[in-house]
Each structure stands twice: as structure tokens, then as C-alpha cells.
């Protein structure tokens, strides 16, 4: 135990004396959250739209008021025909147009059915789909209100409900992803690099030649970076709550426990990598290509997994980030407890156990 404490102390000294790396590691999460938060915002306010109102009755006026009141849209033009809509797309820079059918009020009251046509400018796919979603929210709001005033309520075709993230804030999407990325960088990358550094400098041989237990050397490497990674996670959470009003619905202690399990998995990946390589450069390349890239691409953080070819969906299952991101979203946004995410915790935990035992058996053997 005294040996372990001494190795831990040495490892913390390494971290604290390497000021530049420490500064980078602590600044990175802050930079990433602010960068993603302010630049990659998918929110659009006051998008210019055109409205072709073919009925001009009280219900259509009500509906248009609802659109303007939402704050997402700004009606800049009232064309009189579909050709004029086309003209507006080209010349007035509108992003979306809606067509309200003739006899809107009657259709609602008598037919119990009305179709509002939405025309999108899909030359920018992201903007189009975001605006489309906003419009769906407005329409469903309108329908709900209409139904509330009617008795009995009319059955209405569409019922989209934006649950858990009604404002569709993009913070909700990227904060869990950034936490996963940072933890991969700090635990997996740093652990594998520093272990490889000791191999390069020959200090690993000096340690292995002593009677110290190899498990201590390994634990001594993992724990300090887990602590560092936890600090980074807290930084990310504090910024996302204070600056971006990200909610944390679930228990904060449970959230931290989930992060701890993911850190363990991530550190054991780092351990596995350092058992395979001999130089810092190799450690870095393998971690980047083998763990970091799959985390960015295959975790569902930036690109939805459902749209990927089946092969990649299966491949994604083998990287811890996917499971972690599903779980942390549930805990933060929905407030899910242990019963809801125990499966993901179990997957992460089993991954860690397998990786740690494989790499320990590799390190612990005399060649």
C-alpha cells in the first residue's frame, strides 16, 4: 500500500510539474463547450418566411399569429400564388413558405381535417430540417389549442410532441458528446501516452525490475488521470449549466457515478493500447484512430446512428462512447435513474473488466 501511495504521488508530481499539458487539459473542455455552444448552434431565430393564405378567415389569422408569436419566424411576404412563392425564395431570401388551404375554418369545423403545406428551401439541409421541426411545433401548438376550445375535440392528423427538449436546444446534444470526448482524451490518451513514455525513457524497466506489484504501477497510472478527467467533467457541467442553461434532471451523484464507470472503461482502453505499443507516437496514433475517431463518428454524438449502414451500427456497439452518451442523455435530460440505464452501465463495466484483465495478463507476464 505504501508503494502504491508513492507511485501515485510520483504520478501526480508528473502531472503538476508539466504545467503546459495540465493547462491544455483543463482549458480544452472549456474551449470545446464554449465553441460548440456558441458556434455550432442549430437554433435559428426570426427566419424569413412567406405565407400564401388562401382562406384569410379567423382561424388562419389565429394560426399566423401563432407563427409570429413563436419568435422563430418572421413573415416577410404574402405572395398571391405559388409562382410568387418561387420568386420569393429566389429574391427575398425566404427559408420557408406555407400555404394555408382555402376555407381553412370550414375545413377544420366540418371536415375535421385540414392540410397546411410547408415548402422548404433544402439547399441547406440543416436549416431546412430545423425550421421544419419548428413549424411542426407551432402547428401542433395550434392544434392543441384548437382542440381545447372544441368539444368534443376533433381528431387531428398530426400530433408531434417535442418531449424533453421542447426548445430543441443544441446544447442538449453536444454536452454529453463533449464529456465523452474529453474523458477519452484525458483517460485513454493520457494514460496510454504516459505509459509509453515510461517505456521509451527506460523508467518502466527500472520499475519492473523492482519487486513492486505491476498492478500498482498500472493503478498508479490510471487513478491520477481519472481524477483529472473528473475535474474536466465538472468544468463542462458547470459551464453548460451556467452559460447554456443545460438542465440536469437526474441525480448529480448518479451522473458522476455514470461518468466514473465510463472513465474506467476509457482508461482500460488506454491501458490495452499501451500494452500493445512501445512509443508515445504509436500510443497517440492508435488512440486517435482506434478510439477517438470512432467516438466522434460512431457514438451518435454528431451523426445519427440510425442513418448509418448496418455494419457501422454494429461496429458502434463495440465502442463505449455510444452507450455512455445514451445513458448520460437519459440521466441529464430525462432524469432517468438506475433502473432505466443499468443495461448501459453493465455494458461499460463488462468492457472495462475484459480490457483490464487482458492487458494485465499481457503486462504481468515475463516475456
Amino acid at each position: 500500500m505504501k508503494e502504491l501511495m508513492m507511485i501515485l504521488r510520483k504520478e501526480f508530481i508528473h502531472i503538476l510539474r508539466d504545467r503546459i499539458t495540465l493547462l491544455l487539459v483543463l482549458a480544452m473542455p472549456v474551449m470545446l463547450v464554449l465553441l460548440f455552444g456558441f458556434t455550432i448552434s442549430t437554433e435559428i431565430n426570426n427566419a424569413k418566411i412567406a405565407v400564401l393564405d388562401l382562406s384569410k378567415d379567423s382561424q388562419s389569422k389565429l394560426f399566423l399569429n401563432k407563427i409570429t408569436a413563436s419568435g422563430y419566424f418572421q413573415i416577410v411576404s404574402y405572395p398571391n400564388s405559388e409562382t410568387e412563392i418561387d420568386h420569393d425564395f429566389k429574391n427575398k431570401n425566404i427559408k420557408l413558405a406555407i400555404i394555408i388551404p382555402a376555407n381553412f375554418e370550414t375545413k377544420l369545423a366540418v371536415d375535421k381535417k385540414a392540410t397546411i403545406q410547408i415548402i422548404n428551401d433544402v439547399s441547406d439541409l440543416n436549416v431546412a430540417s430545423v425550421l421544419n421541426n419548428y413549424m411542426r411545433v407551432v402547428i401542433s401548438d395550434f392544434v392543441n389549442e384548437y382542440n381545447g376550445n372544441q368539444s368534443p375535440p376533433i381528431p387531428f392528423g398530426m400530433s408531434t410532441q417535442m418531449a424533453y427538449n421542447p426548445q430543441m436546444e443544441s446544447v442538449y446534444m453536444f454536452v454529453p458528446g463533449i464529456i465523452a470526448l474529453i474523458m477519452i482524451i484525458v483517460t485513454a490518451l493520457m494514460t496510454s501516452i504516459t505509459l509509453a513514455r515510461e517505456k521509451e525513457s527506460g523508467t518502466m524497466r527500472m520499475l519492473l525490475i523492482t519487486p513492486v506489484k505491476k498492478v500498482y504501477v498500472v493503478i498508479g497510472k490510471i487513478i491520477p488521470y481519472m481524477v483529472l478527467s473528473l475535474i474536466c467533467t465538472l468544468l463542462i457541467l458547470v459551464i453548460s449549466v451556467l452559460v447554456f442553461q443545460m438542465p440536469i434532471k437526474g441525480s448529480i451523484w448518479f451522473l458522476l457515478f455514470l461518468c466514473f464507470v465510463f472513465m474506467l472503461t476509457s482508461a482500460s482502453f488506454g491501458l490495452m493500447i499501451s500494452a500493445m505499443v512501445n512509443t508515445q507516437l504509436d500510443a497517440m496514433m492508435v488512440t486517435m484512430m482506434g478510439l477517438f475517431l470512432p467516438t466522434v463518428l460512431l457514438s451518435g454524438f454528431l451523426f445519427p446512428l440510425d442513418n448509418m449502414p448496418y455494419f457501422f451500427q454494429i461496429l458502434a456497439d463495440f465502442f463505449p462512447a455510444k452507450w455512455f452518451i445514451i445513458a448520460i442523455k437519459d440521466v441529464m435530460i430525462k432524469g432517468t435513474g438506475f433502473l432505466g440505464i443499468w443495461k448501459y452501465l453493465l455494458i461499460l463495466f463488462v468492457m472495462a473488466v475484459i480490457l483490464i484483465s487482458v492487458s494485465l495478463s499481457r503486462i504481468d507476464k515475463r516475456e
Partner: protein
């Protein structure tokens, strides 16, 4: 019986038919030799002759393919963990932690060898004192000259009072004055009964050894006192003996 026991205890290193194969390459080929307690034993050979592989096996870092060895009275196959407690090691590549101070390095290695804290403090203090580096205890290792580092590494390897110390080219890249001082430290340790197992490329250092062996292509070619080897090969210097065996 008593006599045999005494005979056995004479040696601190006994190696018998030790072999290490990596796939089809035989790095160490069936070597056998003994080293007496308190002896300074020179282990010579060209680069790639298999010296480092042999030392790694004797230190318990590498599993031998075949053969037996008794190191510091412990069986290499069954008891390598006890061997580790009783040997010290220092390599050609300086390998203490550069971002730790002199004291922190010694404290780290002393602690992992299980030296009690108070005892360790005294030993480090004495050791730094005799190195005349006591005032540098808090200096970070990267800022001291190479010669000092090598002496520090040797002192660190001696902290837990090992019975045998393996020195793998300890003086390479060091100036002649420090080399002299380094060998004085080796003599002092040997005088205290520590067995010194040293590899070197400096032939004048080979002459300082009580006995030397020369390895080539994994095999132990010749072994004896420097005087014996020179007489046997009818040359004037160990350097010439060396030349005869490593000529390719």
C-alpha cells in the same frame, strides 16, 4: 555435505546452459558461468551479442527458453520475485525520472523496495552526502550533468543494499574523471561484499575487473582473469582479446 554447502555459497551468480530464443533467432545460446560473491565481473561483447538479453533474464524480466540459474541464492525459475529484492540494476540509458528531484527519485525507488520511511531518509541523506550532492537534494534531475546522473543512478540502485548489482554500460558517454569516480564507487561496493556484474565497451575498464567474459553471437567465448585471457591469447591487452572474438 557441509563442504558442498560452503562451495555453493561461494557464488552469488550461477548460470547453467541458459538459452533465450526469439522465434528462430537465438539471442543467448547455452551460456554457463559462475560469479563469486563480492567479485567484479566484466561481461563483454559487441552490440547485439546478447548481453542485455542475458542480464534481463538474470534480473527476472525475461523468461529463459531453457537452462537454470541461481541468483543471490534464489532459483531463477521458481523464485524470481525474491531475486528482485536482492539485486540492483542500472542501465546505459539514464533512467531516473527527469521531472522528479534527486530526493524524490531515491524516495520512490527506496519505497518500492520496501525500505521503512525513517531508515530510507537516513540512507538517502548518507548517499547524497557521499556523492557530495546533499545540497542538490531538491534539484530536479534533468538539470544536473550526465556524469552526476549516472552516479546518482548507481547510488539509487544501491539504496536497498542489494547482494548483486547489474550495471549495463554504466559509464557510456561519461567523461574520464567521472568514470574514475564511478569505478571508485564500484570498488567500494565490492569491498562491502556486493557482487558487481558490469558490461562495458571501454577496454581499460575491462582491465579493472577481477574476471571478464566475452560474448559473441549469443555464446560465451572465453572467461577468466584479464591476465589469464591475455596469456592464453598471447596478446598485450584485453582490447586485443576482444578483437579476436568479435571479428566477423
Amino acid at each position: 555435505m557441509l563442504l558442498i554447502m560452503k562451495m555453493e555459497k561461494m557464488y552469488s551468480i550461477e548460470v547453467e546452459n541458459l538459452t533465450k530464443k526469439f522465434r528462430h533467432f537465438t539471442a543467448v545460446d547455452n551460456i554457463s558461468f559462475q560469479v563469486k560473491k563480492g567479485e567484479i565481473f566484466g561481461f563483454l561483447g559487441a552490440n547485439g551479442a546478447g548481453k542485455t538479453t542475458a542480464i534481463k533474464m538474470m534480473c527476472g524480466l525475461l523468461q529463459p527458453t531453457s537452462g537454470k540459474a541461481t541468483i543471490a541464492d534464489f532459483n531463477l525459475a521458481s523464485d524470481y520475485k525474491n531475486i528482485k529484492r536482492n539485486i540492483g540494476y542500472m542501465s546505459q540509458r539514464f533512467s531516473l525520472y527527469a521531472d522528479l528531484s534527486l530526493y524524490e527519485n531515491m524516495q520512490l525507488f527506496g519505497t518500492v523496495y520496501g525500505i521503512p520511511r525513517k531508515e530510507l531518509k537516513d540512507r538517502i541523506f548518507n548517499s547524497l552526502e557521499s556523492l557530495q550532492m546533499a545540497d542538490k537534494a531538491k534539484t530536479l534531475v534533468y538539470s544536473i550533468p550526465l556524469g552526476w546522473k549516472q552516479k546518482l543512478a548507481f547510488a539509487t540502485a544501491m539504496l536497498h543494499e542489494p547482494k548483486i548489482v547489474f550495471l549495463d554500460e554504466p559509464t557510456s558517454g561519461v567523461d574520464p574523471i567521472v568514470r574514475r569516480e564511478f569505478w571508485n564507487m564500484i570498488y567500494e561496493a565490492a569491498a562491502r561484499g556486493v557482487t558487481i556484474f558490469v558490461t562495458t565497451h571501454y577496454m581499460d575498464e575491462a582491465e579493472y575487473c577481477e574476471r571478464v567474459s566475452i560474448m559473441s553471437e549469443g555464446q560465451l567465448k572465453i572467461i577468466g582473469t584479464p591476465a589469464q585471457l591475455k596469456e592464453e591469447m598471447q596478446v598485450d591487452a584485453i582490447a586485443d582479446v576482444f578483437q579476436k572474438f568479435v571479428k566477423r
